[in-house]
Amino acid sequence: MDGHLGVLTEAAAVVPTEVSHTVSRQVERFLYREARLLDQGDYDAWLSLLAPDIHYWMPVIENRARDDPEGTYAPERLAYYDDTIDDLRRRIVRFQAKTAWAENPATRHVHVISNVEVEPGDSPGEVVAHSVFVNYRSRSERDEVVLFGRRRDVLRHRDGVWLLARRRILIAQNVLLSKNLNVFL
């Protein structure tokens, strides 16, 4: 676990000195609002927070030895999400279809977002935001799944609004201890 989280936080050594309190606050509010929209299942509003060139990536986490040079995740391996905006839209078509049986009755979601750190980005108008999440899902009468993980986001400021341009999601599970992932994280 230490090794895994060590990989998760490799960028944390960069001291976030250049991002103003105002920007940090805006980014936090963005992330909290996004979480609320996902809790509400308001996917159309959620899509409006995403940049057209978004890369939304959640690799499978491999359970490898600590000294294995291959690392616990990599771009060429299988991923839960490795999505463009069109891929995300396609998933939302299913979420919203009347025959999406595993969404009816609706899944009850709680997205808890915490440990937000905002740093300068690589390009003008961009920042990097680190956060951790707890995602609670409850379905039907007693079905429940809890996921913990960490995200590294790139947010871009354009025309007075922030958009999510990159997201990397790393969950703290190797075998996914549930039957599916009918959720954005």
């Binding site: 359970n63 294995d68 078509v93 039907s140 190797n174 075998v175 039957k179 992932l181």
Partner: protein, 440 residues
């Protein structure tokens, strides 16, 4: 059927299994989906006897490379040896039983138990131990006789590695029988063979292993209904109605159901035109290699399963094992198979296409798990378990076929392969040994 229920003694000796599946009425006793005794018997009589898929050769390319998997509920390590042969070692220390490897894959020079430091070579033989001097003066202790337990037989079929714990099991080729003719559609349509893309989807479904296995062996019926929303997302409409041209085929309990009227029907769900072009462009070459009939099956609407728990979708190229980690729990390991010779952009399309369809976030798989979990759970209730489950769809639909090997049934929407699956299951459950088990 309720009067014919086996007694506990019959159940424990396996003699009751003929009652669990009522061939004449095509009815199954629902206790097979949750009963602890039946599950224990399955571990002994099915999972310790059958040839089980353990790896693709591409996952362990060089000496020391290993992957961890299960044979039944037994944790095993599939290890490439220094001479490039393969061994399947039980991941349990012969001393106190602890796992000797906790990684799911990697490269190793050997395996060491964390508990008391017993160490083993890639071949499973003991290489060293902590406090060796004390053991060496212990009467009867002989390090040379100690090692990790191993599979009794290992064999490969065109890249797929299988193993069995039963030394009396017939050769793999015989176990697969004429099913190999169909397997070649996915494993041998190109001279350079196949590989698994790196990585695996591993997830947990709280269902009995037979529920997804019977689904993949022949449940075309659920596709248009369960997966309507997934189909809406990919095609903007529901799945094509199944034509009367579709077939179900089974051999030795292994099933393949296919409708070649839509020769790229399943491949189309991946959502990549490049994959459809790849199928169409290659059809003449595949036809030359395998004949026209099999060339049309390569990307068709279809699903398939090798008895007992190794399933795949030829079109989408998901290959998956339903590991039975309890009567009501499956650990699903899913992989993506591609031709080694496929262009990089095609391999990438398969990687992403499988993520979008048959992964835990997949537009199709996402709606399967709930059905399977509640089938398992509901069948446990005192009332539900009194109702036999009906598998009679398509009774009497067997047709003679000169060009297709195996038992062939007309119309893809059919329980024929599921009946064959449970007939095979009952055969294993009541057999005393492999000598009682015949090809079917």
């Amino acid at each position: 059927m309720s009067e014919q229920r086996p007694t506990d003694t019959e159940m424990l000796t396996g003699r009751g299994s003929t009652c669990w599946y009522d061939e004449q009425n095509a009815c199954l006793d629902r206790r097979v989906f949750w009963d602890e005794h039946i599950y224990d018997q399955e571990l002994e009589r099915i999972f310790r006897r059958c040839w089980l898929f353990v790896a693709h050769e591409s996952q362990i390319p060089k000496p020391g490379a290993f992957v961890s998997t299960y044979m039944g509920n037994t944790s095993v390590l599939v290890v490439r040896q220094r001479d490039l042969s393969i061994k399947v070692l039980v991941n349990t220390c012969p001393h106190r039983g602890n796992r000797v490897c906790h990684a799911e894959l990697g490269n190793a020079r050997g395996f060491v138990c964390n508990y008391h430091g017993w160490s083993f070579g890639l071949d499973g033989r003991m290489t060293g131990l902590h406090e060796a001097a004390v053991f060496e003066r212990t009467p009867g202790f002989d390090k040379r006789k100690i090692g990790l337990p191993q599979a009794a037989q290992i064999a490969t079929y065109k890249g797929l590695v299988f193993a069995t714990f039963d030394p009396a099991a017939p050769p793999l080729d015989e176990y697969l029988g004429a099913y190999r003719w169909y397997l070649d559609i996915v494993l041998d349509n190109d001279e350079r063979g196949t590989e698994f893309l790196p990585g695996a989807f591993k997830s947990v479904m709280r269902c009995n292993w037979k529920v997804p296995a019977e689904n993949f062996t022949g449940d075309a019926l659920h596709a248009g209904w369960t997966h309507d929303a997934g189909s809406q997302a990919v095609f903007g409409k529901g799945i094509n109605p199944t034509s009367e041209d579709g077939l179900q085929i089974n051999i030795n309990g292994h099933g393949w159901q296919v409708d070649s009227k839509y020769p790229v029907g399943n491949a189309a769900t991946l959502g990549y035109k490049s994959i459809l072009r790849y199928f169409r462009e290659r059809e003449p070459a595949v036809a030359q290699r395998l004949g026209a009939v099999r060339a049309r099956m390569a990307g068709a609407i279809s699903s398939a399963s090798i008895f007992p728990n190794f399933s795949f979708l030829p079109g989408q190229s998901t290959f998956r094992v339903w590991h039975p980690l309890g009567p009501r729990e499956v650990e699903l390991h899913a992989f993506v198979l591609v031709n080694c010779g496929a262009p990089a952009e095609i391999k990438e399309a398969y990687r992403k296409g499988n993520m979008m369809t048959f992964s835990p976030t997949g537009l199709f798989e996402i709606d399967d798990g709930e059905n399977w979990e509640f089938c398992t759970q509901s069948n446990r209730s005192a009332e539900s378990r009194r109702q036999p489950s009906h598998y009679g769809l398509g009774l009497g639909s067997e047709v003679p076929s000169s060009e297709l090997p195996g038992n062939v049934f007309r119309c893809q929407v059919n329980d024929a392969n599921q009946r064959a699956f449970y007939r095979r299951w009952a055969q294993f459950m009541s057999a005393k040994s492999w000598t009682d088990i015949s090809a079917c």
